[in-house]
Symmetry: C2
Subunit: 230 residues, 2 copies
DNA sequence: CGCCGCATTGAAATTAGTCAATACTCGTGG
DNA sequence: CCACGAGTATTGACTAATTTCAATGCGGCG
Protein backbone atom coordinates (compact mmCIF):
# COMPACT_ATOMS: atom_id res chain seq x y z
CA UNK A 1 0.00 0.00 0.00
CA UNK A 2 2.35 2.69 -1.05
CA UNK A 3 -0.60 4.99 -1.02
CA UNK A 4 1.70 7.92 -0.79
CA UNK A 5 5.43 8.08 -0.44
CA UNK A 6 5.68 6.68 3.05
CA UNK A 7 6.99 9.08 5.64
CA UNK A 8 10.64 8.40 6.39
CA UNK A 9 11.07 5.71 8.99
CA UNK A 10 12.42 6.40 12.43
CA UNK A 11 16.06 5.48 12.80
CA UNK A 12 15.73 2.96 15.58
CA UNK A 13 13.06 0.42 16.01
CA UNK A 14 11.45 1.40 19.27
CA UNK A 15 10.71 4.84 17.94
CA UNK A 16 8.18 3.31 15.61
CA UNK A 17 6.20 2.16 18.58
CA UNK A 18 3.35 4.61 18.41
CA UNK A 19 0.75 2.05 19.27
CA UNK A 20 -2.35 4.20 19.11
CA UNK A 21 -3.53 5.58 15.85
CA UNK A 22 -1.81 8.83 15.04
CA UNK A 23 -2.30 10.70 11.79
CA UNK A 24 0.96 11.04 9.88
CA UNK A 25 0.62 14.81 9.87
CA UNK A 26 -1.44 17.09 12.03
CA UNK A 27 -3.61 18.45 9.27
CA UNK A 28 -4.45 15.08 7.76
CA UNK A 29 -7.68 14.59 9.60
CA UNK A 30 -8.71 18.17 10.13
CA UNK A 31 -11.88 17.50 8.16
CA UNK A 32 -13.08 15.29 10.97
CA UNK A 33 -13.01 18.02 13.53
CA UNK A 34 -16.03 19.61 11.92
CA UNK A 35 -18.26 16.64 12.62
CA UNK A 36 -17.17 16.03 16.21
CA UNK A 37 -18.29 17.31 19.61
CA UNK A 38 -16.06 18.02 22.60
CA UNK A 39 -16.34 15.94 25.76
CA UNK A 40 -14.44 15.91 29.03
CA UNK A 41 -13.61 12.84 31.09
CA UNK A 42 -12.14 12.99 34.56
CA UNK A 43 -9.16 10.92 35.67
CA UNK A 44 -10.20 7.33 36.27
CA UNK A 45 -13.54 7.60 34.50
CA UNK A 46 -14.49 5.23 31.74
CA UNK A 47 -15.00 6.38 28.18
CA UNK A 48 -16.51 3.08 27.06
CA UNK A 49 -16.41 -0.57 28.05
CA UNK A 50 -15.20 -3.56 26.08
CA UNK A 51 -18.26 -4.95 24.34
CA UNK A 52 -20.17 -1.64 24.24
CA UNK A 53 -21.72 -0.80 20.89
CA UNK A 54 -19.04 1.03 18.93
CA UNK A 55 -21.20 3.88 17.68
CA UNK A 56 -18.64 6.59 18.44
CA UNK A 57 -14.97 7.15 17.81
CA UNK A 58 -12.82 9.57 19.77
CA UNK A 59 -9.76 11.71 19.35
CA UNK A 60 -7.72 12.90 22.32
CA UNK A 61 -7.42 16.70 22.46
CA UNK A 62 -5.52 16.84 25.74
CA UNK A 63 -4.81 14.42 28.56
CA UNK A 64 -4.34 10.66 28.21
CA UNK A 65 -6.47 7.54 27.86
CA UNK A 66 -5.61 3.88 28.40
CA UNK A 67 -7.12 0.84 26.68
CA UNK A 68 -7.66 -2.13 29.00
CA UNK A 69 -8.48 -5.76 28.61
CA UNK A 70 -9.17 -8.11 31.49
CA UNK A 71 -8.76 -11.83 32.00
CA UNK A 72 -11.40 -13.81 33.88
CA UNK A 73 -9.60 -13.52 37.23
CA UNK A 74 -8.97 -9.80 36.95
CA UNK A 75 -5.49 -9.71 35.48
CA UNK A 76 -5.33 -6.54 33.42
CA UNK A 77 -3.47 -5.63 30.28
CA UNK A 78 -3.13 -2.17 28.81
CA UNK A 79 -2.89 -2.29 25.05
CA UNK A 80 -2.08 1.36 24.45
CA UNK A 81 -1.89 4.83 25.87
CA UNK A 82 -3.61 7.45 23.76
CA UNK A 83 -2.16 10.94 23.94
CA UNK A 84 -3.10 14.24 22.30
CA UNK A 85 -3.89 13.69 18.63
CA UNK A 86 -4.51 9.94 18.85
CA UNK A 87 -7.70 8.30 17.62
CA UNK A 88 -9.44 5.80 19.87
CA UNK A 89 -11.71 2.93 19.06
CA UNK A 90 -11.49 2.94 15.29
CA UNK A 91 -12.21 -0.55 14.09
CA UNK A 92 -14.47 -2.45 11.81
CA UNK A 93 -16.30 -4.27 14.60
CA UNK A 94 -19.77 -3.64 15.96
CA UNK A 95 -18.54 -3.34 19.51
CA UNK A 96 -15.49 -1.94 21.23
CA UNK A 97 -12.66 -4.38 21.71
CA UNK A 98 -11.31 -2.86 24.89
CA UNK A 99 -12.32 -0.63 27.76
CA UNK A 100 -11.10 2.97 27.52
CA UNK A 101 -10.39 4.91 30.72
CA UNK A 102 -8.97 8.37 31.36
CA UNK A 103 -5.45 8.26 32.81
CA UNK A 104 -5.69 11.92 33.72
CA UNK A 105 -8.39 14.54 33.19
CA UNK A 106 -8.88 14.40 29.46
CA UNK A 107 -10.59 16.37 26.73
CA UNK A 108 -11.72 14.48 23.67
CA UNK A 109 -13.54 15.00 20.43
CA UNK A 110 -16.32 12.54 19.80
CA UNK A 111 -17.38 11.53 16.30
CA UNK A 112 -20.47 9.57 15.58
CA UNK A 113 -19.52 6.55 13.58
CA UNK A 114 -22.09 7.48 10.98
CA UNK A 115 -20.71 10.91 10.24
CA UNK A 116 -17.19 9.51 10.37
CA UNK A 117 -18.09 6.91 7.76
CA UNK A 118 -19.91 9.46 5.64
CA UNK A 119 -16.92 11.72 5.57
CA UNK A 120 -14.76 8.77 4.73
CA UNK A 121 -16.78 7.80 1.70
CA UNK A 122 -16.94 11.40 0.47
CA UNK A 123 -13.20 11.92 0.65
CA UNK A 124 -11.16 9.00 -0.64
CA UNK A 125 -7.96 10.70 0.54
CA UNK A 126 -9.13 10.21 4.11
CA UNK A 127 -9.48 6.50 3.50
CA UNK A 128 -5.85 6.32 2.41
CA UNK A 129 -4.86 8.30 5.46
CA UNK A 130 -6.79 5.87 7.60
CA UNK A 131 -5.04 2.95 5.93
CA UNK A 132 -1.69 4.51 6.77
CA UNK A 133 -2.76 4.99 10.37
CA UNK A 134 -3.85 1.39 10.66
CA UNK A 135 -0.59 0.16 9.13
CA UNK A 136 1.29 2.25 11.62
CA UNK A 137 -0.75 0.78 14.46
CA UNK A 138 -0.07 -2.72 13.21
CA UNK A 139 3.66 -2.05 13.00
CA UNK A 140 3.66 -0.70 16.53
CA UNK A 141 1.67 -3.68 17.76
CA UNK A 142 4.25 -6.07 16.34
CA UNK A 143 7.01 -4.14 18.04
CA UNK A 144 5.09 -4.31 21.31
CA UNK A 145 4.67 -8.08 20.93
CA UNK A 146 8.44 -8.44 20.61
CA UNK A 147 8.77 -6.39 23.78
CA UNK A 148 6.19 -8.42 25.70
CA UNK A 149 7.39 -11.77 24.50
CA UNK A 150 11.15 -11.47 24.58
CA UNK A 151 12.44 -8.49 26.53
CA UNK A 152 13.52 -8.46 30.18
CA UNK A 153 11.99 -6.09 32.72
CA UNK A 154 14.92 -3.66 32.31
CA UNK A 155 14.64 -3.72 28.53
CA UNK A 156 10.88 -3.23 28.68
CA UNK A 157 11.21 -0.16 30.85
CA UNK A 158 14.01 1.28 28.73
CA UNK A 159 11.86 0.81 25.62
CA UNK A 160 8.87 2.36 27.34
CA UNK A 161 10.75 5.47 28.39
CA UNK A 162 12.07 5.96 24.87
CA UNK A 163 8.61 5.51 23.38
CA UNK A 164 7.15 8.04 25.77
CA UNK A 165 10.01 10.46 25.16
CA UNK A 166 9.45 10.16 21.42
CA UNK A 167 5.72 10.64 21.71
CA UNK A 168 6.04 13.68 23.89
CA UNK A 169 8.23 15.65 21.54
CA UNK A 170 11.51 13.76 21.40
CA UNK A 171 13.29 15.68 24.16
CA UNK A 172 15.01 14.16 27.17
CA UNK A 173 12.45 15.30 29.72
CA UNK A 174 9.50 12.90 29.88
CA UNK A 175 6.31 13.32 31.85
CA UNK A 176 4.52 10.07 32.60
CA UNK A 177 0.84 10.77 33.21
CA UNK A 178 0.17 7.17 34.25
CA UNK A 179 0.88 5.30 37.49
CA UNK A 180 3.36 2.48 37.97
CA UNK A 181 0.41 0.09 37.90
CA UNK A 182 -0.52 1.35 34.44
CA UNK A 183 3.06 1.03 33.23
CA UNK A 184 3.21 -2.48 34.64
CA UNK A 185 0.02 -3.54 32.92
CA UNK A 186 1.31 -2.06 29.67
CA UNK A 187 4.66 -3.88 29.88
CA UNK A 188 3.45 -7.16 31.37
CA UNK A 189 5.12 -6.51 34.74
CA UNK A 190 4.06 -5.84 38.33
CA UNK A 191 4.17 -2.46 40.05
CA UNK A 192 7.13 -3.57 42.13
CA UNK A 193 9.16 -4.75 39.17
CA UNK A 194 8.54 -1.46 37.35
CA UNK A 195 9.60 0.43 40.44
CA UNK A 196 12.77 -1.63 40.82
CA UNK A 197 13.64 -1.15 37.16
CA UNK A 198 13.21 2.61 37.55
CA UNK A 199 15.38 2.63 40.65
CA UNK A 200 18.02 0.64 38.86
CA UNK A 201 18.17 3.02 35.88
CA UNK A 202 18.38 5.88 38.32
CA UNK A 203 21.20 4.33 40.34
CA UNK A 204 23.13 3.76 37.10
CA UNK A 205 22.74 7.42 36.22
CA UNK A 206 20.91 6.60 33.00
CA UNK A 207 17.85 8.54 34.07
CA UNK A 208 17.10 11.15 36.70
CA UNK A 209 13.79 11.54 38.53
CA UNK A 210 12.41 15.03 39.00
CA UNK A 211 9.46 13.38 40.70
CA UNK A 212 7.88 9.94 40.51
CA UNK A 213 6.46 10.74 37.10
CA UNK A 214 8.90 13.21 35.65
CA UNK A 215 11.90 11.49 34.16
CA UNK A 216 14.93 13.01 32.49
CA UNK A 217 16.98 10.83 30.18
CA UNK A 218 20.64 11.32 31.05
CA UNK A 219 22.27 8.74 28.85
CA UNK A 220 20.14 8.16 25.80
CA UNK A 221 22.66 6.02 23.96
CA UNK A 222 22.83 3.56 26.83
CA UNK A 223 19.07 3.56 27.25
CA UNK A 224 18.65 2.80 23.55
CA UNK A 225 21.19 0.02 23.75
CA UNK A 226 19.31 -1.49 26.69
CA UNK A 227 16.01 -1.24 24.86
CA UNK A 228 17.46 -3.23 21.97
CA UNK A 229 18.75 -5.92 24.28
CA UNK A 230 22.45 -5.11 23.92
CA UNK B 1 -15.35 2.16 9.98
CA UNK B 2 -18.59 0.34 9.48
CA UNK B 3 -17.63 0.08 5.87
CA UNK B 4 -19.95 -2.81 5.51
CA UNK B 5 -22.05 -4.56 8.07
CA UNK B 6 -19.23 -6.14 10.05
CA UNK B 7 -19.17 -9.90 10.00
CA UNK B 8 -20.59 -11.33 13.22
CA UNK B 9 -18.00 -11.62 15.90
CA UNK B 10 -16.70 -14.93 17.14
CA UNK B 11 -18.29 -16.05 20.36
CA UNK B 12 -15.17 -16.28 22.44
CA UNK B 13 -12.30 -13.94 22.43
CA UNK B 14 -9.41 -16.12 21.39
CA UNK B 15 -11.19 -17.11 18.21
CA UNK B 16 -10.70 -13.59 16.95
CA UNK B 17 -7.00 -14.14 17.07
CA UNK B 18 -6.31 -14.46 13.38
CA UNK B 19 -3.14 -12.45 13.51
CA UNK B 20 -2.19 -12.52 9.85
CA UNK B 21 -4.29 -10.71 7.32
CA UNK B 22 -7.12 -12.87 6.13
CA UNK B 23 -9.81 -11.67 3.76
CA UNK B 24 -13.24 -11.82 5.36
CA UNK B 25 -14.48 -14.08 2.59
CA UNK B 26 -12.56 -16.18 0.13
CA UNK B 27 -13.71 -14.32 -2.95
CA UNK B 28 -12.99 -10.86 -1.62
CA UNK B 29 -9.59 -10.53 -3.13
CA UNK B 30 -9.98 -12.74 -6.13
CA UNK B 31 -9.17 -9.77 -8.34
CA UNK B 32 -5.63 -9.82 -7.05
CA UNK B 33 -4.94 -13.31 -8.24
CA UNK B 34 -4.84 -12.06 -11.81
CA UNK B 35 -1.86 -9.82 -11.19
CA UNK B 36 0.21 -12.30 -9.18
CA UNK B 37 2.78 -14.95 -10.03
CA UNK B 38 3.27 -18.27 -8.28
CA UNK B 39 6.44 -18.98 -6.33
CA UNK B 40 7.59 -21.91 -4.22
CA UNK B 41 9.70 -21.70 -1.07
CA UNK B 42 11.20 -24.70 0.68
CA UNK B 43 10.97 -25.31 4.40
CA UNK B 44 13.36 -23.05 6.28
CA UNK B 45 14.04 -20.74 3.33
CA UNK B 46 13.60 -17.01 3.64
CA UNK B 47 10.98 -15.14 1.65
CA UNK B 48 12.37 -11.73 2.57
CA UNK B 49 14.40 -10.14 5.36
CA UNK B 50 13.44 -7.41 7.75
CA UNK B 51 14.58 -4.17 6.15
CA UNK B 52 14.39 -5.45 2.56
CA UNK B 53 12.69 -3.12 0.13
CA UNK B 54 8.98 -3.98 0.29
CA UNK B 55 8.33 -4.09 -3.44
CA UNK B 56 6.28 -7.28 -3.30
CA UNK B 57 3.42 -8.62 -1.27
CA UNK B 58 2.56 -12.29 -0.95
CA UNK B 59 -0.40 -14.54 -0.36
CA UNK B 60 -0.01 -18.08 0.94
CA UNK B 61 -1.53 -20.67 -1.37
CA UNK B 62 -0.44 -23.71 0.61
CA UNK B 63 2.02 -24.36 3.40
CA UNK B 64 2.93 -21.97 6.19
CA UNK B 65 5.16 -18.94 6.75
CA UNK B 66 6.40 -17.33 9.95
CA UNK B 67 7.29 -13.68 10.55
CA UNK B 68 10.35 -13.18 12.74
CA UNK B 69 11.98 -10.32 14.54
CA UNK B 70 15.31 -10.54 16.33
CA UNK B 71 16.83 -8.71 19.25
CA UNK B 72 20.50 -7.75 19.21
CA UNK B 73 21.64 -10.89 21.03
CA UNK B 74 19.64 -13.27 18.89
CA UNK B 75 16.46 -13.66 20.92
CA UNK B 76 13.71 -14.31 18.39
CA UNK B 77 10.05 -13.46 18.34
CA UNK B 78 7.51 -14.77 15.87
CA UNK B 79 4.77 -12.24 15.25
CA UNK B 80 2.47 -14.43 13.20
CA UNK B 81 2.03 -17.65 11.31
CA UNK B 82 0.60 -17.21 7.83
CA UNK B 83 -1.48 -20.08 6.53
CA UNK B 84 -3.32 -20.68 3.24
CA UNK B 85 -5.21 -17.55 2.22
CA UNK B 86 -3.25 -15.10 4.38
CA UNK B 87 -1.56 -12.01 2.98
CA UNK B 88 2.03 -11.30 4.00
CA UNK B 89 3.92 -8.05 4.17
CA UNK B 90 1.16 -5.61 3.42
CA UNK B 91 2.08 -2.33 5.00
CA UNK B 92 2.58 1.28 4.19
CA UNK B 93 6.33 1.23 4.79
CA UNK B 94 9.13 1.25 2.25
CA UNK B 95 10.77 -1.80 3.75
CA UNK B 96 9.60 -5.03 5.32
CA UNK B 97 9.15 -4.89 9.07
CA UNK B 98 9.98 -8.52 9.72
CA UNK B 99 11.74 -11.49 8.19
CA UNK B 100 9.46 -14.05 6.55
CA UNK B 101 10.53 -17.71 6.46
CA UNK B 102 8.80 -20.86 5.27
CA UNK B 103 7.73 -23.12 8.13
CA UNK B 104 7.12 -25.94 5.68
CA UNK B 105 7.37 -26.21 1.91
CA UNK B 106 5.12 -23.40 0.79
CA UNK B 107 3.49 -22.13 -2.38
CA UNK B 108 2.74 -18.44 -2.59
CA UNK B 109 1.38 -15.88 -4.97
CA UNK B 110 3.56 -12.84 -5.38
CA UNK B 111 2.14 -9.43 -6.26
CA UNK B 112 4.25 -6.51 -7.26
CA UNK B 113 3.43 -3.64 -5.01
CA UNK B 114 2.80 -1.48 -8.04
CA UNK B 115 0.12 -3.67 -9.57
CA UNK B 116 -1.37 -4.20 -6.13
CA UNK B 117 -1.64 -0.47 -5.61
CA UNK B 118 -3.00 0.08 -9.10
CA UNK B 119 -5.73 -2.46 -8.57
CA UNK B 120 -6.50 -0.86 -5.23
CA UNK B 121 -7.01 2.59 -6.71
CA UNK B 122 -9.14 1.19 -9.52
CA UNK B 123 -11.49 -0.66 -7.22
CA UNK B 124 -12.52 1.25 -4.12
CA UNK B 125 -14.26 -1.83 -2.76
CA UNK B 126 -10.87 -3.50 -2.42
CA UNK B 127 -9.69 -0.62 -0.30
CA UNK B 128 -12.55 -1.17 2.09
CA UNK B 129 -11.78 -4.86 2.17
CA UNK B 130 -8.19 -4.04 2.96
CA UNK B 131 -9.30 -1.75 5.78
CA UNK B 132 -11.32 -4.58 7.26
CA UNK B 133 -8.35 -6.91 7.01
CA UNK B 134 -6.11 -4.42 8.75
CA UNK B 135 -8.68 -3.87 11.51
CA UNK B 136 -8.86 -7.59 11.98
CA UNK B 137 -5.10 -7.80 12.20
CA UNK B 138 -5.05 -5.02 14.76
CA UNK B 139 -7.70 -6.74 16.85
CA UNK B 140 -5.76 -9.97 16.77
CA UNK B 141 -2.54 -8.17 17.68
CA UNK B 142 -4.18 -6.69 20.77
CA UNK B 143 -5.39 -10.12 21.77
CA UNK B 144 -1.89 -11.49 21.33
CA UNK B 145 -0.46 -8.70 23.48
CA UNK B 146 -2.83 -9.70 26.28
CA UNK B 147 -1.60 -13.27 25.87
CA UNK B 148 2.07 -12.32 25.88
CA UNK B 149 1.79 -9.86 28.73
CA UNK B 150 -0.54 -11.54 31.15
CA UNK B 151 -1.13 -15.23 30.48
CA UNK B 152 0.75 -18.13 32.06
CA UNK B 153 2.53 -20.75 29.99
CA UNK B 154 -0.45 -23.11 30.29
CA UNK B 155 -2.88 -20.42 29.24
CA UNK B 156 -0.70 -19.39 26.32
CA UNK B 157 -0.55 -22.91 24.98
CA UNK B 158 -4.29 -23.46 25.44
CA UNK B 159 -4.96 -20.22 23.54
CA UNK B 160 -2.53 -21.22 20.82
CA UNK B 161 -4.11 -24.60 20.25
CA UNK B 162 -7.57 -23.04 20.01
CA UNK B 163 -6.33 -20.42 17.56
CA UNK B 164 -4.73 -23.07 15.39
CA UNK B 165 -7.83 -25.27 15.58
CA UNK B 166 -9.98 -22.35 14.53
CA UNK B 167 -7.69 -21.41 11.69
CA UNK B 168 -7.52 -24.93 10.35
CA UNK B 169 -11.24 -25.42 9.98
CA UNK B 170 -12.58 -25.41 13.50
CA UNK B 171 -12.48 -29.15 14.09
CA UNK B 172 -10.86 -30.90 17.03
CA UNK B 173 -7.93 -32.34 15.08
CA UNK B 174 -5.14 -29.82 14.70
CA UNK B 175 -1.98 -30.18 12.66
CA UNK B 176 0.87 -27.97 13.80
CA UNK B 177 3.26 -27.40 10.90
CA UNK B 178 5.76 -25.57 13.13
CA UNK B 179 8.30 -26.88 15.64
CA UNK B 180 8.23 -26.37 19.42
CA UNK B 181 10.86 -23.68 18.98
CA UNK B 182 8.52 -21.78 16.64
CA UNK B 183 5.62 -22.13 19.07
CA UNK B 184 7.84 -20.93 21.89
CA UNK B 185 8.98 -17.89 19.97
CA UNK B 186 5.37 -17.11 19.11
CA UNK B 187 4.18 -17.39 22.71
CA UNK B 188 7.19 -15.88 24.44
CA UNK B 189 8.28 -19.19 25.97
CA UNK B 190 11.19 -21.63 25.65
CA UNK B 191 11.04 -24.94 23.81
CA UNK B 192 11.10 -26.78 27.12
CA UNK B 193 8.24 -24.84 28.64
CA UNK B 194 6.11 -25.45 25.55
CA UNK B 195 6.92 -29.13 25.73
CA UNK B 196 6.05 -29.30 29.41
CA UNK B 197 2.75 -27.47 28.83
CA UNK B 198 1.88 -29.93 26.06
CA UNK B 199 2.72 -32.87 28.30
CA UNK B 200 0.60 -31.44 31.06
CA UNK B 201 -2.47 -30.97 28.85
CA UNK B 202 -1.95 -34.51 27.62
CA UNK B 203 -1.68 -35.97 31.11
CA UNK B 204 -4.91 -34.18 32.08
CA UNK B 205 -6.67 -35.75 29.12
CA UNK B 206 -7.50 -32.35 27.63
CA UNK B 207 -5.63 -33.11 24.44
CA UNK B 208 -4.33 -36.23 22.77
CA UNK B 209 -1.18 -36.44 20.64
CA UNK B 210 -1.31 -38.45 17.44
CA UNK B 211 2.28 -37.42 16.91
CA UNK B 212 4.41 -34.51 18.11
CA UNK B 213 2.60 -32.18 15.75
CA UNK B 214 -0.84 -33.69 15.44
CA UNK B 215 -3.05 -32.75 18.34
CA UNK B 216 -6.65 -33.73 19.01
CA UNK B 217 -8.69 -31.59 21.36
CA UNK B 218 -10.48 -33.89 23.79
CA UNK B 219 -12.04 -31.39 26.16
CA UNK B 220 -12.64 -28.16 24.36
CA UNK B 221 -14.65 -26.53 27.13
CA UNK B 222 -11.82 -27.00 29.60
CA UNK B 223 -9.24 -25.83 27.07
CA UNK B 224 -11.27 -22.69 26.44
CA UNK B 225 -11.62 -22.03 30.14
CA UNK B 226 -7.86 -22.38 30.54
CA UNK B 227 -7.22 -20.01 27.64
CA UNK B 228 -9.36 -17.35 29.34
CA UNK B 229 -7.51 -17.74 32.60
CA UNK B 230 -10.33 -19.42 34.56
C1' DC C 1 22.05 -49.82 11.78
C1' DG C 2 23.24 -45.51 13.14
C1' DC C 3 22.91 -40.66 12.64
C1' DC C 4 20.51 -36.24 12.99
C1' DG C 5 17.03 -33.19 14.25
C1' DC C 6 13.43 -32.53 17.26
C1' DA C 7 10.98 -33.48 21.53
C1' DT C 8 10.71 -34.76 26.27
C1' DT C 9 12.10 -34.91 31.01
C1' DG C 10 14.81 -33.77 35.18
C1' DA C 11 17.51 -30.77 38.27
C1' DA C 12 19.55 -26.34 39.21
C1' DA C 13 19.60 -21.39 38.55
C1' DT C 14 17.36 -17.07 37.70
C1' DT C 15 13.91 -13.80 36.94
C1' DA C 16 9.95 -11.78 38.18
C1' DG C 17 5.99 -12.12 41.36
C1' DT C 18 3.98 -11.99 46.03
C1' DC C 19 3.62 -10.41 50.55
C1' DA C 20 4.73 -6.96 53.80
C1' DA C 21 6.60 -2.84 55.72
C1' DT C 22 7.97 1.87 55.05
C1' DA C 23 8.25 6.34 52.67
C1' DC C 24 6.79 9.93 49.91
C1' DT C 25 3.23 13.52 47.99
C1' DC C 26 -0.39 16.16 47.97
C1' DG C 27 -4.61 17.91 49.48
C1' DT C 28 -7.75 18.75 53.47
C1' DG C 29 -9.00 20.25 57.75
C1' DG C 30 -7.84 21.49 62.44
C1' DC D 1 1.05 26.36 59.56
C1' DC D 2 1.13 21.85 60.67
C1' DA D 3 -0.92 17.25 61.28
C1' DC D 4 -3.36 13.74 59.15
C1' DG D 5 -4.81 10.53 55.68
C1' DA D 6 -5.34 8.52 51.16
C1' DG D 7 -3.16 7.09 47.36
C1' DT D 8 1.08 5.96 45.23
C1' DA D 9 5.88 4.53 45.16
C1' DT D 10 9.87 2.25 47.03
C1' DT D 11 12.35 -1.36 49.23
C1' DG D 12 13.17 -5.92 51.43
C1' DA D 13 12.52 -10.86 52.14
C1' DC D 14 10.62 -14.80 50.45
C1' DT D 15 8.15 -17.71 46.84
C1' DA D 16 6.82 -19.38 42.49
C1' DA D 17 7.17 -19.69 37.61
C1' DT D 18 10.03 -20.07 33.89
C1' DT D 19 14.57 -20.56 31.98
C1' DT D 20 18.84 -22.82 31.62
C1' DC D 21 21.67 -26.69 31.46
C1' DA D 22 22.02 -31.48 30.76
C1' DA D 23 20.64 -36.05 29.63
C1' DT D 24 17.61 -39.17 27.30
C1' DG D 25 14.11 -40.58 23.95
C1' DC D 26 11.87 -40.86 19.55
C1' DG D 27 11.36 -41.08 14.43
C1' DG D 28 12.72 -40.73 9.86
C1' DC D 29 16.24 -41.43 6.44
C1' DG D 30 20.59 -42.45 4.23
Amino acid sequence: MALQPASHQPASRHLANLLPLTPASAGDFAAFDKVGSVIIVKRGETLFYEGDAADCYFKVASGAVRSCKLLADGRRHIGAFFLAGDFIGINDEESHLFTAEAVSDTTLIRYSRRSFDNLLSEQPALGRCLLRMLCHGLTAAHEQMLLLGRKTAQEKLASFLLIMAERSGGGDAVVLPMTRADIGDYLGLTIETVSRAVSHLKSEGIIQLKSANEVVIRNRALLEAMAEGV
